[in-house]
């Protein structure tokens, strides 16, 4: 059954099955992140842990417009994208535990999830450091005449880095097929966008590089889908880069070390009223694409799957210390 959902003049073709899948993906990320926070307080997960709670519609919406063969590069707040890309939740959890059953044998942890078989290239933890690499990946595809695009996520903090500007110039100069996605959650760690950017309408920065750009309400899943489908079409037609700013908000602290001294609780509460998950659930209920009962069943299913992921991580094993220096160099002739 193909049903068109229309809100505020935006039309996006989402059939019932797809609608349920999208809801499931957002709910899964939310629950996975909450579980991760809980495991962090139990000291099962250590190091830095950056949660995606509140921003789910961005990853889910953007990635709905991508093909599995498209290269994906993300930030250190990448659990959501990794899950949507199809990395096994248990393998991700094991990675965050530091176990050798993790996607990077535990070497990377929360900030460095990689799965080459799924073209998932991190998990990059130097802000803006992956943008030039993403341009290079797109350049290689162009040179090899591969028919795929590269999608690169970054936060608005990255937009202030020199590497953002260098990467944008190169991408436009070389005309490579790349979707730049800014997850603008308004805070670069604890510094509000108004203290970071002289121009806070970030999409306007693309004009300086002759790159097409748009912005979208990142709390509105269907709007994100529509904007990203539009962006991907343009990239596919022109072979040129596109810049999409998704205006969103993280409901939780920057990382588990963050006391949130830089924003008012009230501001967080206001944004929580725009939580993408209840909003999308409500929409699906109104259009009778899903029932209350079905949502409850989804919740149950997700809880079970996440418990399995945790069990998998718990049962995981530590890499023997004598393997410590593996993966510094490949077998080679030098």
């Amino acid at each position: 059954m193909n049903t068109k959902i229309t809100i505020e003049n935006k039309t996006s073709p989402v059939d019932q099955e797809t609608a349920k899948k999208l809801l499931y993906q957002m709910m899964f990320i939310r629950r996975f992140e909450e579980k991760s926070a809980e495991l962090y307080t139990k000291e099962k997960i250590r190091g830095f842990l950056h949660l995606y709670v509140g921003e789910e519609a961005v990853a889910v919406g953007i990635m709905h417009a991508l093909n599995p063969g498209d290269n994906l590069l993300c930030t250190y707040r990448e659990h959501g994208q990794a899950l949507v890309r199809g990395l096994d939740p248990g393998v991700i959890m094991a990675e965050m535990y530091g176990k050798q059953e993790g996607c990077c044998k535990g070497r990377g942890g929360s900030m460095h999830l990689f799965d080459v078989s799924r073209k998932f290239f991190g998990g990059n933890a130097i802000v803006a450091g992956h943008l030039p690499m993403a341009v290079g990946m797109a350049l290689a595809d162009k040179k090899m005449k591969n028919n795929q695009i590269t999608c690169c996520f970054f936060g608005e903090g990255a937009v202030a880095e020199g590497e953002f500007h260098e990467a944008f110039n190169l991408a436009s100069l070389w005309q490579v097929p790349i979707l730049f996605v800014c997850e603008n959650n308004l805070y670069a760690m604890g510094t509000a966008i108004r203290y970071s950017h002289a121009q806070t309408n970030l999409e306007l920065k693309a004009a300086g590089y002759n790159i097409s750009a748009g912005s979208v309400d990142g709390m509105d899943l269907l709007a994100v889908i529509q904007a990203s489908q539009h962006a991907v079409e343009i990239i596919q037609q022109t072979g040129k880069p596109y810049f999409l700013v998704c205006n969103t908000y993280r409901f939780r602290a920057h990382s588990m070390f963050d006391a949130e001294l830089y924003r008012e609780k009230q501001e967080v509460e206001v944004w929580k009223k725009r939580d993408p998950i209840p909003a999308f659930s409500k929409l699906l209920l109104e259009h009778q694409l899903v029932t209350e009962q079905a949502i409850k069943e989804l919740e149950k299913k997700i809880d079970m799957e996440i418990q399995q992921a945790v069990d998998f991580a718990e049962a995981g094993t530590w890499e023997p210390i004598d393997q410590l220096t593996n993966f510094v160099y490949s077998n080679s002739i030098i």
Binding site: R107, F121, A140, E166, N331
Partner: protein, 332 residues
């Protein structure tokens, strides 16, 4: 590894260019990108004519965005290409240091062995052209400090002709240091370009009295010093390290075990230098073979000044190498 049977005389610059040409001819995935490598012909004319020969897709001029284009080289390498990225001089390399240290060097490890980064980054470096403090750096030790990188130094014409071709066979990121002051120098290069397929330290001259261990611009200076030492009956062995990371400890230890004396020579300033590491390895691995303390002749700890006489005084010269080697051997 046998010595190449046939050789011809070429400048260091021409040898570098021929290696680039071979690399581009041998593999369609190889491309060169860097500032002014195409239309200008390379800041030092190393890539002159290659744009006309191979076209703009394979000889890519890039804007002054060291971090951007080095990162793009890393990305292209991740995605199936074999890029050669030229950073015009080592002096600009810190602008790309984030990409090299945080991405190229770490991705294989962070990804649990999933990602190879077969990128080759060339940079011209060194002192000797009166370019003053910001354009005369010897930063080999900076790069050699980083696990995950392979760091090569081209101290001879033979390596100018061959080293890049070996580097391109590597699955890991390789940094190659070339020496601007040597570009016009002529020397013998092998015509057989297949003979070198593994890179270790190389004994450039054999001797029994002392090991002079060096690399880069120190190699020819040390060989000249060794020739002078031979006239007074001191037989110095000259070792060209060639690979600054990972260090070829075996060749170092074998030589010191034979000569029982070591003098370490390099242009980079002395503290925390490659020589510091070589010295420590000698102590750890063959201390009891030594008949004299290991000595170092390295760069003076100073930003490089402009005047020629002061610039020359910053780095070891042949005469000092002779003097110090004599002192070690003859207990002067």
């Amino acid at each position: 590894m046998s010595a190449p049977s046939v050789s011809i005389k070429l400048s260091y610059r021409e040898a570098l260019k021929q290696s680039l040409r071979d690399a581009l001819k041998n593999d369609d995935r190889v491309f060169l990108m860097g500032e002014d490598v195409g239309r200008y012909g390379g800041a030092f004319a190393v890539s002159k004519g290659l744009l006309q020969e191979f076209g703009a897709d394979r000889i890519m001029d890039v804007p002054l965005s060291e971090s951007g284009f080095v990162g793009a080289g890393i990305g292209a390498a991740l995605n199936g290409m074999r890029p050669i990225v030229e950073i015009m001089t080592v002096n600009f390399s810190l602008l790309a240091f984030d990409q090299i240290a945080n991405n190229a060097a770490t991705l294989l490890h962070m990804s649990g062995g999933q990602l190879n980064v077969p990128v080759v980054i060339r940079m011209s470096c060194g002192i000797g052209r009166q370019l003053a403090a910001q354009h005369s750096h010897s930063w080999e030790p900076l790069f050699a400090h980083i696990p995950g990188l392979k760091v090569l130094s081209i101290g001879t014409h033979e390596d100018a002709r061959l080293m890049l071709l070996t580097a391109l066979k590597e699955p890991d990121p390789v940094i190659i240091f070339e020496y601007t002051a040597m570009l016009n120098l002529e020397g013998e290069v092998p015509t057989d370009t297949i003979s070198v397929d593994s890179i270790y330290a190389k004994v450039r001259r054999t001797g029994k009295d002392i090991s002079i261990i060096t690399y880069g611009a120190g190699v020819y200076k040390s060989l000249a010093a060794a020739a002078e030492l031979a006239q007074i009956g001191v037989e110095a062995e000259v070792i060209d390290l060639r690979v600054l990371r990972p260090l070829d400890e075996k060749t170092i230890v074998a030589s010191v075990t034979k000569t029982h004396r070591a003098l370490l020579v390099e242009d980079a300033c002395q503290s925390i230098s490659v020589s510091s590491e070589v010295s420590a390895r000698i102590m750890e691995k063959c201390f009891y073979e030594l008949d004299a303390p290991v000595l170092r002749l390295c760069g003076v700890e100073v930003p490089i000044p402009y005047p020629k006489h002061l610039e020359d005084a910053c780095i070891p010269q042949k005469e000092q190498i002779v003097t110090v080697a004599k002192k070690i051997v003859c207990h002067d």
